[in-house]
Amino acid sequence: MSVVLSVAGLTAGYGGLPVIENVTLDVEERSVSVVIGPNGAGKSTLLKSVIALTEIAAGSIRFGSVDITGAETSALVPLGICAVPQSRNVFPSLTVSENLDIGTYASPPRNRMETEQRILSLFPDLRDKLTQPAGELSGGQRQMLAIGRALMSDPKLLLLDEPTAGLSPAYLEKIFDLILDIRATGVTIVMVEQNARQALRIADMAHVLVNGRNFISGTGTKLLANEAVRRSFLGGAE
């Protein structure tokens, strides 16, 4: 199994202040990697650094053999990296179908029709809303659309920043099932999550960040059983 994404000794933040320090992790091909930790631990910052939306003070990020540290954000989609930010992740005045279309501009999929059908079957809710402006969708539908847009270019690596944030329990289940479906199509997934327990259940690899630094890493099952992790993150709170 090859390493698709490799973060080494990364120190990054905003406005001259580092939020994460010396963070290191590797992501294997076709795996689901999960990043969890308390609020303010720097999980989102880590993800944003991969797509070059933060100031990087030290360390490197490699996508396969390509060094993408601090690259131009819009250059990443053609490389095969698609990200879904936590908020403001759809274009509100564009219709659902236009949103999906945008996903194909920077890196057209090999067979556009086939890809679109595949994604609409993953998100059947969107099928009858194609001409609706994305701003009118519910939170859960918006999340689906955001992920759908990212998948339209057949990416190799999918980055999700708290995909279940603010969603109803029904959608929560859907999203986690979805992630496994997406992995089945051969896409590598890196996910930042607040719902630690559920995230760990589907994770091949999990990384815990505390105060901007690596705390512990391991398979999902191993961390579920880990005492320190159970006490801090799994104590009933979901």
Binding site: S74, C82, P85, F91, P92, S93, L94, I102, A106
Partner: protein, 296 residues
Amino acid sequence: MIEFINLYFIPALTLGSIYALGAVGISMIFGILRFAHFAHGDVMTVGAYGVLTAVWFIPLHPLLLMPFGAALAVAAALTVDRFFYKPLRKLPTIYTVISSFGVALIFRSLLQIFWGAGNEVYIRGITKPLVLFDTFRIAALHAEAILLTLLIAVALHYFLTRSRTGRAMRAVADEPELAAVAGLDTEKVIRATWIIGASLAAVAGVFAGMDTDVHPNLGWNLLLPMFAAAILGGIGKPMGAIAGGYIIGLAEELSTFNWIGDDALVSPSYKTAVGFVIMVALLIFRPQGLFRGRLL
């Protein structure tokens, strides 16, 4: 009634057409580049002078020579973006606003240096108005302006909703950071914005020049009502800007009609203030405009 249509309503629609075309550019630039482009009026003037010069060399109707004006205006816009606006892009947008203020003066000075400060006309002599149904007298200019603007509006709508560049432009206007994350080429979108905005401004400039005279302050004098129109339509909503332009044009011209009694409702000397008053009302009560544009 006929008099109302001939002397007030049709000229109002003409003025509205000019405002509409200029406001579209302002709204787009506001929406995508996120700053108030104070030099947009002068881009109109550049376009007007481009066509004027072409008319001097090629004896055709100004409207046929429109591409020359558009080309000059687009070249001017892309040049100032490259050398003056782009270096300031990462800073708070107010710096670009200040820069555009300076660019306005630069454009005007260049026009005054090369073409002189006097008034010029496209066509000498008086042209006969069109007479429709034996009652409506419409100057050819009015008919041309209104029809061409409506055509452009339809074309613009199709461009924005059907073409890739159009959709990319709407996406960048909606969420610029997401657009970058989605891989859209922002610089290409910015270029397209300038090309469309400047071309439309050139058309507006030619109509304005045909309506009055071509002189260096042509566009600058129209800037305020065009800003009002852009805000009225909702920032970042080009079709809204077109509607806004017509509303402001109508308000301005029709305000001098004697709605009540014999005197004009608003004295003609204050006609140009009508747009400003509407803008103030908008800023107080509904800054997002009619079509709910962005508030920046």
